[in-house]
Symmetry: D2
Subunit: 495 residues, 4 copies
C-alpha cells in the first residue's frame, strides 16, 4: 500500500546525474576556462566542485563543497590555479561519503610524477578491487571510486602514464567518462559501452574534453566530435591522438540523458537534447491524447520542452500553469515542521487563472517515488482544475541505475511495485500515461528498440544491464549505498 | 553615440522592485508564516530580510543580509521569534547604505511602548523632514526612510499608535505601503495614490497584510481584498477595522507591476498578472507583427508570458531558443576579467537547434541601458539566426522612478537619450518595436490612457509624476542616490 | 550556609574593570595608534572593541565583539579608518545587552555635525533620564548609558559641542571618564570625583587621552599628567585647553585600581601600580605574618606583585607554586560536564615540587564568591602542602560597585554574608587574613583612612558611596543588572 | 656583520617544541580526557590539534587548525568522538606543509583493520623511505613523516599490528615518541635513544601515555613511570605489557626540555622541570655573578624560574621589571607597518619603577637570532636602567636540531656565526654570560658532561648528533625545510 510519506519538500523526487567533467590543455587561463565549464555543467552535480591545474612545474588544486559560483568566482582562487592545463569536476555523490576528502579531482604522486583524475560514472567492481589492493599494502584515503583507479596505476609495472591508465582501465568495470592531467598531457577516456557522455572541443589552439556541449558554448569553443566508446584520447604539445585500450564493444549510450539529465541546449551523440524532448512530447500526444484538453501545463522546469512538443503536436495551448520560485536554494536545510508541511509550495505555485475550470494536461519527465507528483496534482486541483491528465515523457522507472545515476533502491521505485493504474490512483489524476519504450526510441530517431542488441542503455526502464554488476552480485561493497570497506572512519570537520 | 560599455554581466539590465512586506496577526506561528511569505516575495528584494515578532511581552527580531532561505530556514532562528504577531520585509535597497543597520523592519521604543514598521516604497520628502527633526534633537541611527516615520511618531503629541502614525502619515509624501506591529495590533497603510500594492488575506482566524497574493498562496491563506489607496487597516484581537487618515486621492497603481515586477501567479487590483502579460504579447503581435517569423523566443524568464501571448495571437511557434542557467547566483562577486568578457553566457545560452537559419521574434519586457539586449542579440545571431526582430512588452523607459523602484538616473536610460531607431541599431536587430502606451492600457483592461486623469502611475514611460518630488526639487537629500544628510558615517562590519 | 556551587571554571571569581578608553588628535595614523592603545588596555575589557576616526570630511567606524588583536590587526580594517583624530573603546559590559549595537564608541548625527563618544564608568541616573527623554520623543537605539549622553546633547539648546556636552554632564550622575571626537576636536571629561582614571599624553605634536599610562608606553608617547576630577579637556588644532563644567568636588579615586584592575606597569595618580601592590604585600606580612612559612606562592597572575612584596618583607622564599596555563582563552564556551568538573585545572596546576610537605602562604588579591579560592586550596593540599595560609591584598569585598565595575549583587558577595572565620572554613585554609582598610591606605601612601572625607572611593569595602545611586533608590532602571526600559527588544544576529 | 633585521614582532625568537601526544585506553570519556590532556600540552604545539577515538566498531576523528580550546571545547565535537580509547596530537609543524591534511593523528585502513598514529619528533630518513615506497606503488596523501610509518606497516608481511609497527620501527631512523590506537589496543613507542619524552599514567582502570606529566595532572591521573628508550608499550583489555623491538641504545634525553620546552610543573625522567631551571639560575649566579646588581628581572615568561634561582642564590631582589601582555594572540596576522615598527611592545612593557637608575640582571633562557633580545634591552635602557647584564640559562645555541624541534638553519643561529662578545655588542648589554655546558649538566644533577658517552642529547649546543642524519647527508628530502618529494601539490582550502 502506498502511504503518505512525510517527505522532504526539497527532494524533488527525480533521478540525479552525479557528475560533470571538464579538461583543457594549452590555454593560458586554463583554470578560469574550467571554472566556466563547470558552471555550465552545474546541473550535473551541485554538492561540490574541484579543479586541478598544472603549470609545468607544480600542480595546484582547490576544492570545496557547494556550487561552482560560490567556490570559483573569486579572483584570488583562480589566480592560485596557475598553468596551461587543468581538469575540473562537479560532484553530486553516489558512492563515498559526502565530505571534502571525496571531492574530485583526485591527485596522486605516482613514481613517474603527479597525476590527477576526475570521472563521471560508477565502477561496478570498485569494492572487489579495493579489497585486493588493501591486502597488498595500498592505503586508501577516501571512499571514492576514483581512488581505485590511481592505486591500480600506482602498482602497475607499466612505465608511462598512458600504459598505466590503460592497465587500470582493463581492471575496472563500469560506466565512466574520465579526464586526467599529468605533467605532459591531458587524457580522456570513455568506457567501452560509451554509457556516460564525453565530447571534444577546440578553442584556438586548445583542446577541451567535457561532458556536454553547453560547456563548450560558454567559453566560445567549437564542438569537434563525441569521444567514441572505449576511446582514450591523449592531448599534449604535439596535438591529439587516440589510443584504444579495450576490445570494441557495442555502443549503449544512456537514453535518460535525453529524457532528463542533460541541458536542453546541449547536443549529445549528434542530436539536440531539446529537440529529442519535443519529439517525446509529440510521440506522447500521439500515443496518449487528451481529446477535450484546454491547456498543456509543464511541471517546471524539466517538463517544459516535452510540454511544448505535446502542445504543438496536439494543438492544445501551452500555458505556464505552475510557476516555479527560482529562489529555492539548497539552503533550506533545517526547515521547521510548519514549513515541511507546506511542502511543494516553497518551490511551486499554481497559476489559478489558467487552471480553474480547465481540463489540464500535466507533462512531467518521470515519476520516481511519486511523492512530489501527488502534491503537484493536489495543488492543481485546489486551484480549480476540472480534470487533470498526467503524461510522462519516459517509460516507468522500475530499476535502479548502477552506472553513475543517483536512484533509490529498486524497492523504493514506485513503478517497480505498482501498476500504472495504481500509480494513477495514488497521485490522483484522471488519466496517466507514460511514453512506451518503442515510442521513446522513435523520438530519439530509431524505428524501435532492437531487443537483441539495444541501441541505448535503458536499464532503468527494462532491467537490461549492459555492464556486469560485480560488487552487487558478490554482495560486497557498494551495492547501491556506500561500501564500508575496512573499518569505518567518521571524519568531522570544524565548522 | 552609444559605445560598448564594459558592463557587469550580472547586471541584468532591468529595473528592480525594491521591497516586499508581510504582516500577520493572531497566528501561533507568526514568524514561520512570515518567513514563508517573504520567501514567496523574494523576487521583490534579495539583498536582506528581517522579521520582528511580538509575543505579548517582548519583541523579537532577526535580520540578515542575503536571501530569506539562508536566514530563516533554521529552526532555531524561527523558534526565537516567538509570538502571535509578526511583520517581515525583503529589501533591495534604494535609499540608504547597503548595511545591516538599514535592514527593515525598524524597531523603536516609543513612550507608549514598542513599535516596529516595514515599508515598500520611497518617501520623496524624507531628507527635508529629517533635517527638521535633527535640528530639534532627534538622533537618527540609519539612513533609511523608514526611520523618518518613527521619529515623526516619537515627537507626535498624539496619545496612541494609530493617531501617531496618522499624524506621521500626513507629514510624509511618497509612494509606500507599510505594515507595522505594536503591542496591541497589526497596522497596514497604503499611500493616498495606491502606487505600491498591499492586499489583505485570511488564514483561519488570522489576518495577513502583504504585497502580493502569491504570499497568501504559499501559506494557504485566502485572498480577501486589496487595501484601498490611502486606507489604514487596524487589526487587533477584536478584528479588523479601517481608518482614513488622508483626504481621498485618485488611484494611480504602478502599471510596471503588471509588466515586470510582480510574480506572474499573483493577482493585483483584481487582475491576473500572467494574463496581463499574455495580453501585452497579443497586443504587440497586433501592433508590430513579424509576417515571415519562424519562431517566437522569450528572453528568459521575464519575457516568457508575453512571448506565449505573442505566439498564440500570431500563430508563430513558441520555442525556448535561449536557455537560462538557473545556478547563476548573486555569488559571482569577484569575476575574473576572463569571466567578465564572456558576459551574458554565464546566464544564458543559445539553443542553436531552434535559432539557426530562422527568422526569430525575441520578446523582452523592457530595455533599460541596452547593454544586455545587445549581448543577447549577438548570441542569437552567432547561433545562426537569419533575422532577429525584438518586441518589447512596455513603452520606452525614458524617466527615472522616485517611488520605490531602482532605476538608473534618467540620463542613463537609453530611451531617454535615443530614438527607437538608434536603439535598434545599437542592439543590432532587424526591427524593434515597443508596445504603445495606449496598447499597454488596453492590455490591462482600459480602452486607452486617460491623459487628463491617468488610471495608473506610468511616470517611467511618460514623465508624468503623480506625487510631488520634494527632496529632488529642493536639491537636498536623496534625489536618486543616497542622501548625505549630516556628516557621513562609514561603518564597516567585521568579516 | 555556604554550599559547593557548581561554578563555571572560567569564571575566575574576580571583579572586572569594564572599560578602557583611548583618544588621539593630530596624528596621521590615528586609528593604528588607537588600536595599539586599546591593545595595551585589553585587560580593562575583553568583550568587544570599537574605533571611530575622523578625517576632516567623514567619520569612519569599526566595531566587533572579541579582542582588539582579532579585530584591529588587519591592515585593511585600519586603512579604512582614515584621519588624524580617533577614539577607541574596550568593553567588558556592565549595563546593556552584550550585543554589537551596544559596543562603543557611540556615534550620532547632531544638528551641528557628527559626534562620537566612549566612556569608562557607569551613570547612576541613566534610567531616570532615559525615561524622561523617551517621553519627549527621543528614540533610543541601544541600552547603553552612553546613548543617554548624546541624546541629552541632541536636545540641548546650546550651540556648540562643548556647551552641549557640559549641559549633558550637569544632568548625568555617575562615575565616568569619557573621550569624544567631533569634526573639530577631541574632548576628554572626568567625573567630579575622579573615580575612574584618565590621563594625558603627548607624542610629537599629537595629544592622547587614555585610561592608563601603559597605553602611552606602547606607542612611545610621553606621560603629561592625570586629568583632574571634573576637568573637561578640549584638544584642537590650536592645542589643549581646560573647561570646568562642574562645581568642584573632593577627589575620590577608585582604590581598587591599585589592588587589581590596573596593569602593574601603569602609573595612576602619580604612583606605580606595581609598587603599590608590593607595598600591600609588605603591609600584609606585617599585619598577618606566618612565622613558620616555607614558601610564599602567588595565585597567578594577579597575586604576584603582592606575593613578591610579602616575600621580601618576610624573608620567606617566593616560588611559583601554581603554574598558570596561558592558553586558556575565552573560547571554552561549551565545556563538557567532564571538563566542568575538573574546574580550575584548565587554568592552573600545582607545582608539586615546591608545595609537598611545605607550609604555604598563598597570596591573592580578593575573594569574591569564594568558589575559585576553595578549588585552588584543594589543589594545593592535594599536592601535599602541610599547611595553607591565605593572605588577601584587599579588605573583604562586602558591597557591590555601581561605578563601572562588574560585581555580583551584594547578596552574592561572600564577605557580605560571612565572617572571616566562616570564609576561612569554607575555603579550607589554616589561617586567612585580609589587609585592614587602614593598612591598605598606608600601602598607597596615606597614614590612614580619613573617615570624614575619605581620600579614595572604597565603597566596595566600606559601603560608603560617594555618588548618589539615583536609579537604584528609585527602583527604576538598572540597579545592578540591566534596565528593561520600555518594552524589551531581543535581537539575534545571524551566525 | 649583524644588522637590524626588520623582524616579525610576534616571532619571539625562540626554539619551538613541535608536538605533544596523548593516548588513553579504557575510559568511557576517552575523547574528553584526550582534549584535556592536549590542552595541558598546548605549549608543545599551537598550530593544529586532532583526536581519533575508537568505540569498538568505528573510528572517529576530528582535526582542526588552531588551539585545542577553540576546537575541542564544543560539546557536540566531543560527543561525536565516541569510545573507550583515543589518541590526540598537538602540532607545531616542522616538516610538511601547514595544512589540515598534515594534521595528526594519521588514520589508515590497513588490511587488518583501522590504525591511527600520532608522534612527537622527526624521522631523519623519511624522504629516503618515501621515495622507495612510491616506486613500489604506495600513494602518499600528505607530506608528513607519520605517513611513512603507516605505509611501512601496510606493506609489511607481518600479521598483526604490533609486529607490523615493530617492522616499521626498524626501518625508520629518528627521534620520536608515538602513540597509536587499533581496534584492540593502545600502543606507545619511544625511539631507541629516548630523545623525545613519553610517560605512563593511570586513572582508575585506564592507562594513559603522554608527553608530559602535566597532562596527567589535569585529569587527575597518577604518574606511573617514564617509558624507556626503545620501549614499545602495548595496552589492551588484559592490561599493559612491554615489547622491545630494538637492540638497546644508550639514553640521550633532550636536555633542552629542561631548559625551555617542557612546562615547569612537569616532571621529566624523574626530575622537576621547575627545580632544574632554578638550579640553572643558581649555577649562573655562581658562574657569572653581577656584584653590584640592584634587581634580577626575568624576560617573561620563560626566564622566570631561572631568575628566581639566580635571585635566591645571589641575594639580589627578584622583580617583574618587564610586564607581559597576555592578550597577544596568534591573531596579529596582518600587522600594519606602524605596528610592526613598535615591535616588542605589543607583548612586553618596561616596569619603569624598578628599572630606572638600577643595575639590572636580565635572565633569559636562550638567544636564537638575537633580534628580540636587542629590542628588550633597548626597552629596558629606555626605561632608565643604569646597567644591563644578560644571563642566559643555556649554552650558546650553535647548531640546528633535526630531532623534532623547530630551529632556524644553522647559518641563521647567532651563536653559530658570532662570538659571545660580538653578541654582547649586538644586543647592547654591559655584560653577557651563558651557562657553561658542564654547568648545565651540574644543574640537572650530573657532575659534568661525560664527553665519551654524553648523558643527554645536547646537539644544539655541541653539534654532537646521536642519531644519523640520513636525508640531510643524502641531500634528499627534508634537510631542515620541507621535502618536495615528487611533484609539488599546492592545496588551497575554501575560506
Amino acid at each position: 500500500m502506498i502511504d503518505d510519506l512525510s517527505t522532504n519538500p526539497f527532494d524533488d523526487d527525480k533521478l540525479h546525474e552525479e557528475c560533470g567533467v571538464f579538461g583543457i590543455f594549452g590555454h593560458p587561463e586554463s583554470a578560469a576556462m574550467t571554472a566556466l565549464g563547470l558552471h555550465a555543467l552545474q546541473h550535473r552535480g551541485q554538492e561540490a566542485a574541484g579543479i586541478v591545474s598544472w603549470d609545468g612545474t607544480d600542480f595546484y588544486t582547490h576544492k570545496a563543497m557547494g556550487l561552482v559560483d560560490a567556490t570559483f568566482s573569486k579572483e584570488k582562487v583562480i589566480e592560485r590555479l596557475k598553468g596551461h592545463a587543468a581538469i575540473g569536476h562537479n560532484r553530486y555523490s553516489t558512492t563515498g561519503e559526502a565530505s571534502l576528502r571525496n571531492v574530485q579531482p583526485i591527485y596522486a604522486d605516482l613514481a613517474l610524477g603527479g597525476f590527477a583524475v576526475a570521472h563521471n560514472g560508477n565502477l561496478t567492481n570498485a569494492a572487489a578491487i579495493r579489497e585486493e589492493l588493501v591486502n597488498k599494502g595500498s592505503l586508501f584515503q577516501s571512499s571514492s571510486d576514483t581512488e581505485v583507479i590511481v592505486h591500480l596505476m600506482a602498482v602497475s609495472l607499466k612505465e608511462n602514464a598512458i600504459d598505466k591508465l590503460a592497465a587500470a582501465a582493463n581492471e575496472i568495470i563500469g560506466a565512466y567518462s574520465l579526464v586526467a592531467v599529468t605533467s605532459d598531457m591531458l587524457i580522456g577516456l570513455r568506457d567501452p559501452y560509451g554509457i556516460r557522455p564525453l565530447c571534444l572541443g577546440k578553442l584556438g589552439g586548445s583542446y577541451i574534453l567535457t561532458s556536454e556541449t553547453c560547456a563548450l558554448d560558454i567559453i566560445g569553443a567549437e564542438f569537434v566530435r563525441d569521444i567514441e566508446p572505449g576511446e582514450m584520447v591523449v592531448i599534449d604539445k604535439k596535438g591529439m591522438r587516440t589510443v584504444w585500450p579495450f576490445k570494441t564493444k557495442h555502443k549503449r549510450f544512456c537514453i535518460f540523458e535525453y529524457v532528463y539529465f542533460a541541458r536542453p541546449d546541449s547536443f549529445m551523440e549528434g542530436r539536440s537534447v531539446y529537440e529529442m524532448r519535443k519529439n517525446i512530447g509529440a510521440v506522447l500526444a500521439r500515443e496518449a491524447p487528451v481529446p477535450n484538453a484546454d491547456v498543456v501545463v509543464p511541471v517546471p522546469d524539466s517538463g517544459t520542452p516535452s510540454a511544448i512538443g505535446f502542445s504543438q503536436a496536439s494543438g492544445v495551448p501551452f500555458e505556464l500553469g505552475i510557476i516555479r520560485n527560482h529562489y529555492v536554494g539548497r539552503t533550506f536545510i533545517e526547515p521547521t515542521q510548519q514549513i515541511r508541511n507546506l511542502g511543494v509550495k516553497l518551490k511551486h505555485n499554481a497559476n489559478k487563472r489558467y487552471l480553474k475550470d480547465k481540463v489540464v494536461v500535466l507533462v512531467d519527465d518521470s515519476i520516481v517515488r511519486g511523492t512530489t507528483s501527488r502534491k503537484i496534482v493536489d495543488m492543481v486541483r485546489a486551484a480549480g482544475a476540472k480534470e487533470v491528465h498526467m503524461r510522462i515523457s519516459s517509460p516507468p522507472t522500475a530499476h535502479s541505475c548502477f552506472y553513475g545515476i543517483d536512484t533509490p533502491e529498486t524497492a523504493e521505485l514506485m513503478a517497480h511495485t505498482h501498476s500504472v493504474e495504481e500509480i494513477r490512483k495514488h497521485i490522483g489524476v484522471d488519466s496517466l500515461s507514460y511514453i512506451s519504450i518503442d515510442g521513446l526510441y522513435q523520438a530519439v530517431g530509431e524505428s524501435k528498440r532492437n531487443n537483441d542488441t539495444p541501441q541505448y542503455c535503458d536499464a532503468c526502464f527494462t532491467g537490461d544491464y549492459p555492464v556486469e554488476l560485480v560488487d552487487k552480485i558478490a554482495g560486497c561493497g557498494s551495492d547501491k549505498k556506500k561500501a564500508t570497506m575496512g573499518a569505518k572512519m567518521l571524519v568531522s570537520i570544524d565548522d
